[in-house]
């Protein structure tokens, strides 16, 4: 299944977290979350861990991509 993409760039916290949590609550596990700052990355990764998902972080130019999968 293709990962669901969430563009949370430029959004201030906690909006990236709210978007990701909504997607997880709706049943998604494979997410590709785009953020553009460290704080959002930390918060999204922490939420993913708390929701029992594995999070992998990679850089994409100025953006940060957090890819979550089921553990």
């Amino acid at each position: 299944m293709a990962a669901k993409r969430i563009d949370a760039r430029g959004l201030s916290c906690p909006q990236p977290v709210v978007l990701v949590d909504k997607a997880i609550a709706a049943g998604s596990t494979d997410l590709e979350v785009l953020v553009d700052n460290e704080v959002a990355k930390e918060n999204v990764a922490r939420l993913a861990a708390r929701r029992g998902l594995k999070a992998e972080v990679r850089r994409d130019g100025n953006d940060i991509v957090i890819a979550t999968t089921k553990t």
């Binding site: 916290c13 906690p14 460290e38």
Partner: protein
């Protein structure tokens, strides 16, 4: 590089440092139960500049400059300095204005509410309950898609404006510049504005806390928000550490005096302590951070946060010029009206500012 301060242990250490630091700043001269208060200190800055003429609350508080500059240096060193802005600046300005009005009806920002509690001031409980209630309302908006829109990268130099302003204020303080006989710059001769720790000590404390808070993302509003919104206790553990360590330090230094009556720079109106902080809490959620956090963000280059901070300083001028700010005697004549107008403003913003983003 792993950021050790964003760990659970890190945020607890930072909360403890702020709590102990605030108690010691009080010990060395800052006003009682006001070792650090972002709202009060911004209000003092507005007074020193002559934007309001309440002669008991005028001082250029170096803690505030330290917060911004410490965060600026820490963000720069960590490669996180990133000029950004453009997310509803005017809305943020007025959220800052009304946040300050609410905070000055209560007489303190969330930091001071916690420090007042740690000093034994029972009225702080009402303020904190109001704060949590305001944050709860804000979380409902967040769950329904509230957003002030995206911010965008800005040119490098524009992020330096706010830190440069802080350096300018610091120079005015160091050289005690007088622009005309009697001021500005105004310095209180009596009252809380006349009580301050030595300049260098305040500045160093501000710089250290600013740097630590930037690294750890310490935020008092965020602590309650995350507990309500996603049952996350990460930031809350930092806030708990602040209270516990400030309390312990206060006991050791003989600064703990439990009670409701006669508490320093506080009043006993349960209703307006509660509602003042309800307004402040709601405005903080809608703007994305407590007053301290907004200063740290502005040091990182977040110009929207800087606009909020400027709104708070302007709000302090409004609060004291138009009989909104409370005094130890109780709420001022126009305090309740200002709180109601502010709550209406925040509710309208909460209902109208939404992104129709599909998830």
């Amino acid at each position: 590089m792993k950021n050790i301060f964003s760990s659970r242990a890190g945020i607890i250490v930072v909360g403890a440092v702020i709590g102990i630091g605030a108690a010691f700043l009080q010990y060395f001269g800052n006003p009682p139960n006001m070792g650090i208060c972002v709202a009060c200190f911004e209000r003092d800055i507005a007074g020193a500049l002559g934007w309001h003429r309440a002669d008991v609350v005028q001082y250029l508080r170096p803690e505030i400059m330290g917060f911004v500059l410490g965060a600026f240096v820490a963000a720069f060193a960590a490669g996180e300095y990133k000029p950004r802005g453009g997310s509803s600046p005017l809305v943020r300005f007025f959220l800052g204005v009304f946040a300050m009005l609410g905070a000055l009806v209560f007489l303190g920002c969330p930091w001071r509410a916690l420090l007042r509690l740690a000093g034994g001031d029972g009225n702080a409980i009402l303020g904190l309950l109001g704060l949590i209630f305001g944050i709860f309302i804000g979380v409902l908006f967040l769950k329904n898609g509230y957003s002030l829109g995206r911010s965008y990268a800005q040119r490098k130099a524009s992020g330096w404006i706010f830190p440069a302003l802080m350096i300018g204020l610091l120079l005015l303080l160091v050289f005690q510049v007088s622009f005309s006989p009697g001021g500005p710059i105004f310095f209180s001769l009596k009252g809380p504005g006349s009580q301050h720790a030595p300049l260098l000590l305040s500045l160093i404390a501000g710089l250290v806390i600013g740097a630590l808070a930037q690294r750890s993302r310490f935020c008092t509003m965020g602590a309650f928000r995350d507990m309500i919104l996603i049952r996350d206790f990460h930031l809350a553990s930092g806030v708990a550490a602040l209270v516990v360590f400030a309390f312990a330090t206060n006991v050791i230094l003989g600064q703990f005096h439990p009670g409701f009556e006669g508490q320093p720079v506080a009043h006993t109106s349960f209703v307006w302590n509660f509602l003042g902080m309800t307004l402040a809490g709601l405005a903080f959620v809608l703007a994305g951070g407590c007053p301290g956090r907004q200063l740290f963000l502005s040091g990182e280059g977040d110009m929207d946060a800087a606009i909020f901070a400027l709104g708070m300083i302007a709000g302090a001028a409004v609060a004291h010029n138009f009989a909104v700010a409370s005094s130890p005697k109780g709420p001022a004549a126009f305090g309740p009206a200002a709180v109601i107008i502010g709550l209406l403003f925040c509710l309208i913003i909460g209902f109208t500012q939404r992104d129709k983003m599909s998830v």
